[in-house]
């Protein structure tokens, strides 16, 4: 029985190759998209779930109370971990870890005819040994309990050790120098980190190194006010510990240690299991993947699958008339309805199995591009993973039922007498209205995706082109180590740079006007005894910064040319926060930073607001002053005509000035464009998804119109004999689909508006949703549908009526 069903199903597919192909290809593309989405979701939800204690591990994060609400931050003051250990004996394990972003390492030296090698490693951390008790990362050499106890010891991952020393087996006991200063002895080799961890450790230095006397951070281990965003504290709570209760204890802990003015900068727990999904609290180097994003893309995956199933249902019910004779015969010969349902379901099963096999091939082929596009690491042997196999089995079962059951019920329900005579007046019309409904559903989904894509493209475009309040073009930023020796050389370097023909301006600063690294603080205004209840961003820069970036003053003048803080310039946003409406009122008032009299100076100018962060955020208050010892970036304005020569001379001069360091440069506009990486990724993903949705829908439309053309050959023949023109026939075919698409637009436009409006609400500088996007979306769908339908419609209209009438 089953064998017979499958045999008939297989042969019936072979007989209707073009429909089978449309079905399989459409389904395969839908399933492949769904599979890839599943892989992404599976990957993103697997982060750090391989640690044995994962349910008990928490990060202590800061919760800073501001008038606008609570701001959560990843970092805590440096003394936190040690004090938790003392104050909370019930906490089983505590470990501090701090990121040392962009560290440079020197291996070997220039003596004895050798040249030192310099490496830059962004994934460098200071870590307490307890960290490796909490988190299960494997060791290849060295003892995880003791390797990182002593100051100036370091563990490297296998790859990193291979990179530094050729082969990790040779690495133990060797010394690497951080910057060109202190040497660190290699005391351990770690296994390479898996891709699905938010701790991308590569170089792990002992945390005791920064607590040792002589370290830059030594004094800060008594500082409870400064919050270091890169300094995280992890703890393992005993089982059954009440979290709310512990958070209350943390509030008491903060009160005990922090000065009264800063007790509002509280702390709270964040579960390890939430870390990867919370985009509010920073991760070290990886990006959070919010639960809502997971939900959105899962929904998109499901929708693509539904669109593909709709094709199947539409084509199967449209073909029902062709199959009716077979149904009739089988019923006459004694088949009951269940047997027929099984037969038609097995046909769907065959199509689905083929589609799934094809989708695996598609997914394998596309995976490298997806990895590149989203900057993730999905492995090509995903197909062997049990969850993936389970997923595919569920897809086969789900699609077979979803797409196969309805046509099977319709086909098997035929009255045998009518079926043998091809008489389906009643079922046919209901089938048509169902098909119409499904086509509307398909185009609805496709159009929502198209609207979403257009909005994201427009927003990203806006991000790229909105004036930021400073000149970002043709500016190269070059970082340098800001130790005292280097700082003595920068004036000479400036003079040398300015002598180069292609270089217009040079300025030294702590950061570029818009930068992903910031330094902010509260301050005292106008001799007030109290600190402000908000923070201002600090932009330390020399006076050339203003002309290089074309910053505009709205009142007063630029501070004088000095190396230490004598005068301040602030921005409009700061005045607004202080409630000052006339900028001139601020001129001459005092500002004091860090409760430090040497940082007490007058405001001499007010600068027009410029975008300090990405356009997703507001412009914060900004304080600017000259302060040479903080400078770590050279801003160089070059002539756009001979960029190559200018870059070469900058590199040459820089290397002469800082021979022991690693040269790097970045164009400022490239750096700013990178802020919108996730939006660009979303935009690319959306383009792909919308394209797939449209493609599958059109594939179905093509199948339907081919079928309609076949069914209506006779009608077209009669119309033509009666004098119908070709265009009127084409119109006949296109009319229905145009109406369906307009109907689906009536549903998708409000949906698209709702979702995209919600998406835009999170962005400070956003586009307005005008009618243009919606008109474009409907125009695109109609044009694509016409193109799909057009060929078949025209060929049906051009057919010789004599032939079509005779063949009936």
């Amino acid at each position: 029985m089953i064998k017979n069903s499958i045999k008939t199903a297989w042969r019936s597919l072979l007989r209707n190759k073009s429909y089978a192909l449309i079905n399989i290809v459409g389904l395969a593309i839908g399933i492949a998209a769904c599979l890839l989405i599943f892989l992404i979701v599976n990957f993103e939800t697997s982060f750090d779930n391989f640690h044995k204690n994962k349910g008990q591990i928490y990060r202590i994060i800061s919760a800073i109370h501001t008038p606008q609400g609570i701001n959560l931050g990843s970092g805590v003051p440096l003394p936190t971990a040690e004090s938790i250990r003392l104050d909370f004996p019930q906490v089983k394990q505590v470990a501090a870890i701090m990121l040392e972003f962009g560290a440079h390492f020197t291996i070997g030296d220039n003596s004895q005819g050798q040249t030192a090698k310099i490496f830059k490693e962004d994934d460098t951390f200071y870590v307490e040994p307890q960290f490796f008790d909490i988190f299960n990362f494997g060791w290849l050499a060295g003892d995880k309990k003791t390797a990182l106890s002593d100051p100036y010891t370091v563990a490297l991952t296998q790859n990193e050790a291979d990179k530094f020393f050729g082969d990790w087996h040779n690495a133990m006991g060797k010394v690497i120098k951080l910057g060109d200063k202190k040497g660190y002895k290699v005391t351990g080799i770690l296994k390479n980190m898996p891709a699905n961890t938010d701790f991308p450790l590569k170089v792990v230095m002992s945390y005791s190194s920064i607590r040792a006397k002589g370290s830059d951070y030594y004094d800060n281990f008594k500082d409870w006010v400064s919050i270091y965003g890169s300094n995280n504290c992890f703890i393992v709570l005993p089982e059954g510990q009440n979290i709310a209760q512990f958070n209350n204890q943390l509030t008491a802990f903060v009160k005990k240690h922090k000065p009264a003015d800063y007790a509002k900068d509280g702390m709270q727990l964040q579960a390890l299991g939430n870390m990867h999904y919370d985009s509010e609290v920073q991760l070290f180097r990886t990006d959070a993947f919010s639960k809502s994003l997971i939900r959105s893309i899962s929904l998109v995956g499901l929708f693509l699958l539904i669109i593909a199933c709709v094709n199947f249902i539409n084509l199967a019910t449209a073909q029902a008339v062709n199959r009716s004779k077979e149904v009739g015969i089988r019923k006459v010969l004694g088949s009951n309805r269940e047997q027929l349902v099984i037969q038609f379901i097995s046909e769907t099963l065959i199509v689905t199995v083929f589609a799934v096999l094809l989708s695996i091939l598609i997914a394998e082929a596309v995976l490298p591009y997806l990895n590149h596009l989203l900057d993730i690491h999905l492995s090509n042997d995903f197909i062997l993973a049990p969850p993936v196999i389970l997923f595919l089995v569920l897809v086969i079962a789900g699609v077979t039922l979803l797409a196969g059951l309805y046509p099977a019920m319709i086909l098997s329900g035929f009255n045998p007498i009518a079926a043998l005579k091809n008489k389906f007046v009643s079922t046919k019309s209901s089938g048509v209205s169902l098909r119409r409904g499904l086509v509307i559903l398909q185009f609805c989904i496709a159009q929502v995706l198209v609207i979403g894509t257009l909005v994201i493209i427009k927003q990203v475009d806006y991000f790229r082109n909105k004036p930021l309040g400073f000149a970002k073009d043709a500016v190269v930023t070059v970082p340098f180590q800001n130790d005292s020796v280097s700082l003595t050389r920068i004036n000479t370097l400036r003079d040398q740079l300015l002598q180069q023909p292609g270089i217009n301006k040079v300025s030294f600063s702590s950061a570029s006007p818009s930068d992903n690294m910031g330094w902010s603080t509260d301050f005292k205004y106008n001799n007030s005894s109290k600190q402000t209840d908000f923070n201002a961003d600090l932009k330390w820069a020399d006076v050339d910064y203003f002309s290089l970036y074309k910053l505009q003053l709205v009142a007063g003048h630029i501070y004088a040319k000095t190396d230490t803080v004598h005068e301040y310039v602030v921005n409009e946003a700061l005045l607004k926060k202080l409630g000052i409406t006339n900028p001139n009122d601020a001129i001459g008032k005092n500002l004091e930073l860090f409760n430090d009299k040497t940082k007490n100076a007058r405001i001499v100018g007010v600068v027009k607001d410029f975008n300090v962060r990405s356009l997703k955020h507001d412009i914060p208050p900004v304080i600017m002053a000259a302060y040479k010892s903080t400078y770590q970036v050279i801003n160089i304005k070059i002539q756009p005509t001979n960029i190559k020569e200018s870059l070469a001379s900058i590199e040459h001069l820089w290397n002469n000035t800082f021979p022991n360091n690693l040269y790097e440069y970045q164009f400022l506009d490239t750096k700013i464009a990178a802020y919108y990486k996730s939006e660009e990724q979303q935009s690319d993903l959306c383009k792909i998804f919308a394209g797939i949705a449209i493609f599958i829908s059109c594939l179905g439309l093509y199948g339907l119109i081919s079928f309609m053309a076949l069914q209506r050959t006779r009608e077209v023949g009669i119309r033509k004999t009666l004098g119908a023109s070709v265009s009127s026939i084409v119109y006949l075919f296109s009319k229905e689909f145009t109406v369906l698409i307009l109907l689906s637009f009536a549903i998708s436009a409000p949906l698209g508006w709702y979702f995209m409006n919600k998406w835009l609400m999170d962005i400070t500088y956003r586009i307005t949703l005008g009618p243009g996007i919606f008109l474009l979306a409907i125009a695109v769908s109609i044009v694509i549908a016409w193109l799909t339908v057009g060929y078949k419609a025209v060929s049906a209209a051009l057919a010789n009526p004599v032939k079509s009438l005779r063949s009936e």
């Binding site: 045999k7 019936s12 077979e326 006459v332 010969l333 004694g334 088949s335 009951n336 007498i417 043998l420």
Partner: protein
């Protein structure tokens, strides 16, 4: 074998009610070969469908082998049908996706005959119909006469007590038509009851008895000598 009494069947569309069978009564004995004749629209096909349990009557009684089947459910009718009745159609109604062998095998599958037994019986009947050499061909590769032989083979493979033939020679030339009629006669002589709807007086002469219908009623019965 068959006794119908005051059988009625109506077809309703939105505006018109058509009476297909109007208080029709008749009986067929086991082993008979009956031809049903009449102009288009007289109710021949409706009668054949009801006799074949493909359709149920609106009123009246239909006793098949002493069982009243007029108001059987579809499932029960299907069950009775597949064990007792074979069909031969004017347009053959073979399944295009199945080979000759598989088409003939189909009724055996639906009555749950084991595989080895099926092969034996299909080969037997194909042999008898002289189309064994075509067993692996598909219907569209055969001539009309051959297709009708396959259809008859399929109708008899289950050894039904009754064969219902709906204009079995309608799509055939006279030579092939005569062959088919000879086949049916042979089957009848071996004990199978046959009821055949036909337009052809020539074909009707093969039967024992002709029932003539007009407007859903029996108008005349001829006994053939």
């Amino acid at each position: 074998m068959i006794k119908i009494t005051n059988l009625e069947k109506f077809y309703r569309t939105e505006e018109v009610e058509t009476i297909a069978l109007n208080k029709l009564s008749m009986h067929v004995d086991t082993g008979e070969f009956v031809a049903i004749m009449g102009p288009s629209g007289c109710g021949k096909s409706t009668l054949l469908n009801i006799l074949g349990m493909l359709d149920d009557p609106d009123e009246g009684s239909y006793v098949f082998n002493d069982i009243e089947v007029a108001h059987f459910t579809e499932r029960k009718r299907a069950d009775l049908r597949k064990h007792n009745i074979g069909f031969v159609f004017q347009s053959f109604n073979l399944i295009d996706e199945l080979t000759v062998f598989e088409n003939v095998e189909l009724p055996l599958i639906y009555t749950g005959v084991p595989s080895a037994e099926r092969v034996k019986r299909v080969e037997e009947v194909l042999d008898k119909m002289q189309i064994m050499h075509r067993r692996n061909h598909y219907p569209q590769q055969l001539s009309g006469g051959q297709q009708q032989r396959v259809a008859i083979a399929r109708a008899v493979v289950n050894k039904p007590k009754l064969i219902l033939a709906d204009e079995p020679t309608g799509n055939l030339d006279s030579s092939n038509g005569n062959d088919v009629m000879e086949l049916l006669t042979d089957l009848n002589e071996q004990g199978t009851t046959i009821i055949m709807v036909t337009h052809s007086e020539h074909d009707a002469r093969y039967s024992h008895r002709i029932i003539r219908l007009l407007d859903g009623q029996t108008v005349m019965e001829n006994i053939m000598i």
